[in-house]
């Protein structure tokens, strides 16, 4: 067994510290007779007291609080306590009763218990069966936990749902491991179980509950599984075992017992750590062989109780297109070991071994639905699918049964590439019967017929394709760029930007202008800056209306006049002196500065 120990067990087995409060309820039995009292235990952990109702009102049951007991335990110097309130439940008449949930108040907090079911019979007393957890498969009564002495720390029990089974029949089993709630420890993740002549399903996860057995409170871990007998005869079911590391109540050190016995010490003061293997008792079942009489030819080993239904899709299939016949077999039985249903009347169809998928609705794979999907291709035009037949053995009746699904309506055209069925041709390939290898009948001149690619690289990954597209993309982007620039140049902002550049260039050219050109360039700059075109009158008007100082305006007029003199006066005008040039430049700088703003 895997030495993997789970800590969840510890929390379940240990009485919880005072800071963690918990309430649990349980019945000493879930079946009773009229007048026979049953105990209802309310276990409160992590509290020194609780408010519980004195009586519970359930028609047909008399339920009264009978008493309260307290258990203390010390572990790692931490004290914990468990309170147990015991009710006596006395059935008044027979029937199925539900004891409703009720409130337990602990230090101002309200905890609600779970509802419980009690079955009351009127005849002779039936053996008590420990209550099954809600998620267990229904098992018949029969196994009472072995008689225990008061305080027995642990024991185990194997619950079989049947003692007489057929080969291949799935039998749910439950392994229960009982731990007295006064002890702590850890338990293994899975029990060891198995034996010759039987197969065991994977175990479900451990279910935990509390139960009163012979007046003592136990934590029960139950593991569910299913066994299948593989040969007939009397089958010994070996013991199942679970490893655990337990902290059992211990005794005072040798020679000190008398001393400690003089004091009212809490339980758990001394503990005994032990690794133990808890075992169930071996059992035996009688395994009957499946009868030969009445066994259908197509029986594929299914044992249980089943139902079957089928659907087909698509309802219309073009030439060569497969239709999917889905057959769902549901119920309880050996889904793992059974074979597929068989197709009937499938001449004219090509069928293939079906795929299958199992969906279990319980934790042990006993109940569920197995779906088989047949892919069918019509050899000839078809209006109905093949029928389906499924045979199984029903252990409840001890007889074979047969489920039949009639053909379903479908419109399937014959496959174009598959050869038509010749008369006397054997049936289609079925599950486990692959068709013989068939080479194409004809030997076409493939060198003429075949074309296609001559490279494993797709068109989109080829270098030439990528280069061509990249070139086109670059060309497209270039055109976009040119168009955008042109649009900008033609826009008002673009024009303004261009004019500013011309003005700036004119001013910069002024600094480098030689004496003959200086006045001409100065005039040109003034015209550009004032946006006066080439018109002297307009320039003069703009100078006058500008915000320049009167001296600056006069200087600008003078520059224009000097340009006229230089250009038109006979003999020309003397070149500007250095001082004159500096004076003009300072006036123009003032003009530049003002208009730049």
């Amino acid at each position: 067994m895997k030495r993997v120990f789970v800590s969840l067990a510890l929390s379940a087995l240990l009485p919880v510290g005072l800071h963690a409060q918990e309430v649990a309820v349980g019945l000493s039995a879930n079946q009773a007779q009229v007048g026979e009292p049953v105990q209802l235990m309310v276990t409160v952990r992590g509290a020194r007291g609780a408010d519980v109702p004195q009586t519970l009102e359930v028609k047909g049951l008399r339920i009264n609080l009978a008493g309260r007991s307290t258990q203390f335990e010390m572990r790692n110097l931490k004290m914990s306590s468990t309170l147990t309130y015991t009710y006596l439940v006395v059935p008044q008449f027979e029937g199925e009763f539900t004891i409703p949930s009720f409130d337990v108040r602990i230090e101002g907090k309200t905890f609600r218990t779970q509802a419980m079911r009690l079955s009351v019979g009127g005849g002779t007393r039936v053996p008590q069966t420990p209550a099954l957890p809600q998620n267990t498969a229904p098992l018949p009564p029969g196994q009472l936990p072995p008689p225990t002495e008061e305080g027995e720390p642990f024991f185990a029990d194997l619950v079989l749902s049947k003692r007489k089974v057929y080969v291949g029949e799935v039998v749910p089993v439950e392994l229960r491991f009982y731990f007295n709630s006064r002890i702590g420890g850890q338990v293994g993740e899975r029990p060891n179980f198995g034996g010759e002549g039987l197969t065991v399903q994977k175990f479900s996860n451990a279910a935990k509950r509390e139960q009163v057995v012979n007046g003592a409170n136990y934590v029960v871990f139950s593991f569910q599984s299913a066994i299948t007998a593989v040969k007939s005869g009397t089958l010994q079911i070996p013991e199942a075992s679970l490893e655990a590391r337990l902290q059992l109540p211990g005794r005072a050190p040798q020679g000190m017992g008398d001393f400690f016995n003089n004091f009212p010490l809490p339980q758990g003061m001394f503990t005994d750590n032990r690794e133990v293997t808890i075992k169930t008792k071996p059992a035996q079942i009688e395994v009957l062989p499946l009868p030969k009489e009445g066994r259908p030819e197509d029986f594929s080993g299914a044992v249980g109780r089943f139902a079957m239904e089928a659907t087909v899709s698509p309802k219309k299939a073009s030439s060569g297109e497969p239709v999917n016949l889905k057959v769902a077999v549901s119920g309880q039985g050996n889904f793992e070991g059974m074979g597929a249903p068989v197709l009937t009347g499938d001449e004219g169809w090509r069928s293939y071994p079906p795929s299958d998928k199992f969906q279990s609705t319980d934790s042990i794979g006993f109940t569920g639905e197995k779906t088989y999907e047949f892919a069918l291709i019509a050899r000839q035009d078809q209006t109905r699918t093949p029928g389906v037949r499924f045979s199984y053995f029903d252990p409840a009746t001890g007889k074979y049964s047969e489920l039949v699904q009639e053909p379903l309506a479908v419109d399937a055209k014959a496959g174009g590439t598959t050869p038509p069925v010749a008369s006397g041709t054997p049936g289609t390939p079925q599950a486990g019967k692959p068709a013989p290898s068939v080479a194409p009948a004809s030997t076409p001149d493939v060198t003429v017929m075949a074309g296609g690619a001559t490279s494993w690289t797709s068109l989109f990954s080829r270098r030439e394709f990528l280069i061509a597209n990249a070139s086109l993309a670059i060309a497209w982007l270039a055109v976009v760029l040119v168009l955008t620039m042109r649009k900008f140049t033609e826009s008002r902002a673009g024009r303004e930007l261009a004019r500013k550049k011309v003005v700036r260039d004119a001013f910069a050219g002024l600094k480098d202008a030689g004496p003959p050109d200086f006045y001409e360039k100065a005039r040109d700059y003034i015209y550009l800056r004032l946006d006066a075109g080439a018109d002297d009158l307009a320039a003069a008007a703009k100078i006058d209306s500008s915000a320049l100082s009167p001296e600056a305006k006069a200087s600008l007029h003078q520059v224009i006049e000097r340009h006229g003199e230089t250009k038109y006066a006979a003999g020309g005008s003397p070149p500007p002196s250095v001082e004159e040039r500096q004076s003009v430049m300072s006036i123009l700088k003032e003009l530049e500065a003002r208009y730049e703003k």
Partner: protein
Amino acid sequence: MKNRLALVFFLALGAFARADLLSDARARFQDGEYDQAAKLFEQSLEKSPPSAAVFYELGRALNKTGQEARSALNFRRALILDPRFAPARSALQEANVALGIPPVKQGWRTRVVERIPLDALGLAGTVLFWAGAFAGLSAFFPRGFRGGRLVAGILSLLLGLSLVLAAWLCDPRISLANTAVVLTNGGSSLRSSPADQSEKLASLPQGSTIDILSQRGRWFYGQAPGGTKGWFLTEGIVPLIPPP
């Protein structure tokens, strides 16, 4: 000049050698020497660009020698190169029947590739796309905006894009780039984790295809045809598209 002449000479010699191999392979096939024919077809494929016809012929030769899984692999390769190659499709169906592999329902991609040459579709889409892109741009040329040209350009661009997308999605050289075929005798097992003792999720018969998603050591992580994902041993699993 001499070097060029030598190159042309050697290229011509190579072409003749390949042609000889193919002729020899076909002759062997006709004579019923299928093993020899298969070897020669394989040699021819190693020395020349892939050809749907030669893969098909190789598949037929392997089929005759009873190697159904390998023959199915080569029929599949022929169909990747030429999805409209009907004899290869028919031969693949037959080989799959022999291997016990159920047919897969034909999807829209298969239907498209069976009818339309994909490279032509892709090229037509590309031409339409760029024609639309430039036509749309011309609407903004000087001499005034032209709305009609813009609309026509956008439509052409979208149509071209759709055709390119369709060709991309349908091209088996792209969609089957990560697909492999089980050639191991007895098939392969799909396991829940990359360990020999891990839970077996499914069995895949010889000739089944797997979509490879990743690799870890001697294990592939992949998807079986039913959609179940898990781990496969790499041994005996061959990529559908031969590695370069």
